[in-house]
């Protein structure tokens, strides 16, 4: 079903209104949460303050009271969480609608050319607004969240960003940032567009030469296991370029919006590594051994 501009605008407006309502709800829910937290903090102090905890009966009573408060705090927090998730899903929906429109516009042939500076800005904002995965308790991060690899049968959709190993000259291959145009199941090949419009190159590459970028960011405070560990060898987008190079993770992101700090392999430096560079989660991917090395 073609998504016309009118329909898309209507859908976006609808979601924006829903989002606004949700924000009111969230604000109310936060007030309720704060009340809960206040009473918990007071109760915690009360438990802390008695000089002797030998009177086990009263202290255990206090503990039970505290436990009940925690439980109510927990349910309030869960309520707030579900509202926040809903609000965020509205935003993600809006983004996917806009993306859909963009892809359709490109098929239609009217490709807006953007300058280099604008491209860099766009890449950065795409990395920052990549949906955040905040796992529920006991939930593992899904595939393509942070460092989690895709399922074996995963096929990148049209419009998905990928790293693609393309031949740039007679004997040189490079991992470039590209966007999937289509997947050709018969040949098992992707048709990808170089993200850099100036290249105007369309590549047809086998699946082995295409690595999908993460579809979600991982929150380091919640899903640290979904991030590359310090010292891991990865491929990272070199800042101000659209190429991926081998790098070593130097520091993990401190929070969800924080980038990685990586050291690029660079023989022009004495120790073989560049000074620390900051690369967003979206542009740090697992290395494909044997393929990542440019000849």
């Amino acid at each position: 079903m073609p998504l016309t501009a009118d329909v898309a605008a209507q859908q976006v407006q609808e979601r924006l209104r829903s989002l606004h309502r949700l924000i009111y709800d969230i604000e109310a829910e936060r007030a309720r949460n704060e009340q809960c937290i206040d009473s918990i903090l007071r109760a915690e102090k009360a438990v802390e303050s008695p000089p002797s905890n030998e009177d086990s009966s009263s202290s255990s009573q206090q503990q039970m009271q505290l436990k009940n408060l925690y439980k109510s705090g927990l349910s309030a927090a869960e309520q707030e969480e579900s509202l926040l998730r809903k609000a965020l899903s509205r935003i993600y929906e809006i983004r996917s609608i806009k993306n859909e429109r963009r892809i359709q516009a490109r098929y239609a042939g009217n490709k807006e050319t953007i300058g280099c500076g604008a491209l860099m800005k766009m890449l950065l904002s795409a990395a920052q607004t990549l949906p955040l995965h905040v796992g529920r308790v006991g939930e593992r991060a899904p595939p393509l969240c942070g460092a989690v690899p895709p399922d074996s049968g995963h096929v990148a959709k049209a419009g998905d960003a990928v790293a693609a190993l393309v031949r740039v000259s007679e004997k040189e291959e490079n991992w470039i940032l590209a966007e999937v145009v289509s997947w050709m199941p018969a040949q098992g090949k992707y048709e990808v567009d170089d993200i850099d419009e100036e290249q105007k190159n369309r590549h047809i590459l086998s699946k082995r030469r295409v690595v999908p970028l993460p579809l979600m960011r991982a929150d380091p405070r919640v899903d640290e296991h979904a991030l590359f560990p310090k010292g891991a060898v990865v491929m990272a987008l070199y800042p101000q370029t659209t190429c991926f190079y081998r790098a070593v993770v130097n520091r993990l992101p401190a929070n969800a919006a924080d980038p990685y700090e990586v050291l690029f392999e660079d023989s022009s430096y004495a120790d073989g590594y560049s000074p620390p560079e900051r690369v967003a989660q979206r542009y740090v991917i697992a290395i494909k051994e044997g393929k990542g090395r440019a000849t």
């Binding site: 924006l16 905890n53 255990s60 926040l84 860099m120 920052q128 740039v168 980038p259 690029f264 440019a294």
Partner: protein, 462 residues
């Protein structure tokens, strides 16, 4: 590598045009250096003087941490959210979500810790009695310390501990993300404390071995001497005289019980004299007063023939009249019979079994046996103690000598050092120094000889 990048640059891959032109609109050196864009790293320290262990963003801090969200929430529904607001709103909502997710984990962990505390306390209550009775032969200071520590750990509710730790560790830093990391660390720390109790087994072992290897002191000798005095002074307890036979005692008790049962007013504990008298009356009819084998033979012979020609009737009369002395009488009868038979030449005194005292039963024999054993052990103990005291005294002498030798050794080393220093400085060694050295060495030799001359005693004999 860099060359390649340069290569791309020429091809236009390296999108640094803006940078080259110095356009301010292009992303600068590092686009991530704008702290305002990173909502998680909230650095407002003013409102957070008191660090809160629960991850949440206070509503009063809305303007600081969630400007876009606050603005939208304050707007009426007529004023829609603009598309340009979406990015920052998304980041703010995400940071809220992250906080909420952490808060849920915090609450769940706290609830769990209360639950485990509760179950632990129950277990402890059960085990407390046992633990108190646990025999501690040797009390070592570190041992006690560990015990009190562990009890403290389990007694204290986890919550304040968690807070204290996070407060202490985060100290002056007010960085929010730091705070979180710290509280996470404290959880890990706590876990590791619970999972890995301090391994003090080597210390325990060595402190338990220490008393055996420590040098002998005067106190040890005193202790041995007190032991010796104790064991040589004590005498064996005397053997009590033979009491009433248990069957009699039991029979009396039975009767008393029967009486008590029939007469509930009577106190149970008092053994009524009536009971024993009743029993004795009963006994008279069926009790066989004849004790010795000869008397038995005689009585059975008389009973068969129903003849009463001998003195026996007299004795029998005696027996019936004086029940209390019946035992003795029967004994004297046996003696009389024995004497008579031997005198008549009917029996040979060597054929007869030795006359036994009724008190001479196997229990007395056992007591006597034990007593002889005890005296033997006591003698042995005394001998060993004396030997040990002697050894200790010798060891004391040896220790004294050793102390002296150690001193002399130190002296020798000092002198040696001095001499080496003198040689290095090419200073001639004075006569006095030489004399001192010789004296020290001779003293060393003398002490060594003395020590070697002593018989080998204990662990310090080497």
């Amino acid at each position: 590598m860099l060359g390649k990048r340069m290569h791309h640059n020429s091809k236009g891959r390296l999108a640094s045009k803006g940078h080259d032109n110095g356009k301010p609109s292009s992303p600068g050196i590092s686009p991530y250096n704008k702290p305002a864009k990173i909502p998680g790293a909230i650095s407002a320290g003013k409102t957070k003087v008191e660090l809160c262990p629960i991850p949440y963003i206070k509503i009063q801090d809305n303007a600081v941490h969630l400007p876009r969200f606050t603005a939208i929430a304050a707007r009426s529904a007529d004023e829609p959210i603009g598309m340009d607001e979406l990015d920052s709103l998304q980041l703010e909502l995400e940071s809220l979500l992250g906080n909420t997710a952490l808060r849920i984990r915090y609450f769940q962990a706290e609830i769990e810790s209360i639950d485990t505390n509760e179950s632990k306390r129950e277990k402890k209550g059960k085990a407390a009695g046992k633990q108190l009775q646990y025999p501690v032969k040797r009390k070592f200071p570190d041992d006690k310390l560990v015990k009190t520590n562990s009890t403290k750990l389990s007694n204290q509710p986890k919550v304040p501990k968690f807070k204290n730790l996070s407060n202490a560790s985060s100290g002056g830093s007010h960085n929010y993300s730091n705070d979180i990391a710290n509280s996470d660390n404290s959880v890990k720390l706590e876990l590791s404390q619970f999972a890995l109790p301090k391994n003090n087994i080597p210390y325990k072992f060595w402190s338990s071995v220490d008393p055996y290897c420590a040098p002998v002191t005067l106190d040890d000798i005193k202790f041995l001497e007190s032991l010796l005095a104790q064991s040589s002074n004590t005498t064996l307890p005397p053997i009590p005289p033979l009491g009433r036979h248990y069957s009699e005692v039991w029979a009396d008790e039975h009767l008393a019980e029967d009486q008590n049962a029939s007469n509930p007013n009577k106190q149970k504990s008092s053994m009524s004299p009536e009971a024993s008298s009743i029993r004795k009356k009963l006994d008279k009819t069926n009790e066989n007063m004849i004790t010795g084998p000869l008397t038995q033979r005689l009585v059975s012979a008389l009973m068969e023939e129903n003849l009463m020609n001998y003195e026996v009737p007299d004795i029998k009369v005696k027996q019936t009249t004086n029940t209390k002395s019946s035992y003795k009488n029967s004994l004297t009868l046996e003696k009389c019979l024995r004497k008579e038979l031997v005198e008549q030449g009917i029996l040979d005194p060597e054929d007869l079994p030795p006359l036994t005292n009724p008190a001479d039963d196997e229990i007395l024999a056992e007591i006597k046996k034990c007593q002889t054993e005890l005296t033997a052990v006591k003698k042995d103990n005394c001998r060993n103690l004396k030997h040990l005291i002697g050894l200790c005294k010798q060891e004391m002498i040896r220790l004294n000598l050793k102390k002296q030798l150690d001193q002399v050794d130190m002296e020798c080393i000092d002198i040696y050092k001095k001499m080496v220093a003198a040689k290095q400085k090419k200073r001639p060694i004075t006569k006095k120094e030489k004399e001192d050295a010789w004296r020290a060495i001779n003293e060393q030799i003398r002490l060594n000889k003395e020590i070697n001359a002593l018989p080998i005693t204990g662990p310090n004999s080497s």
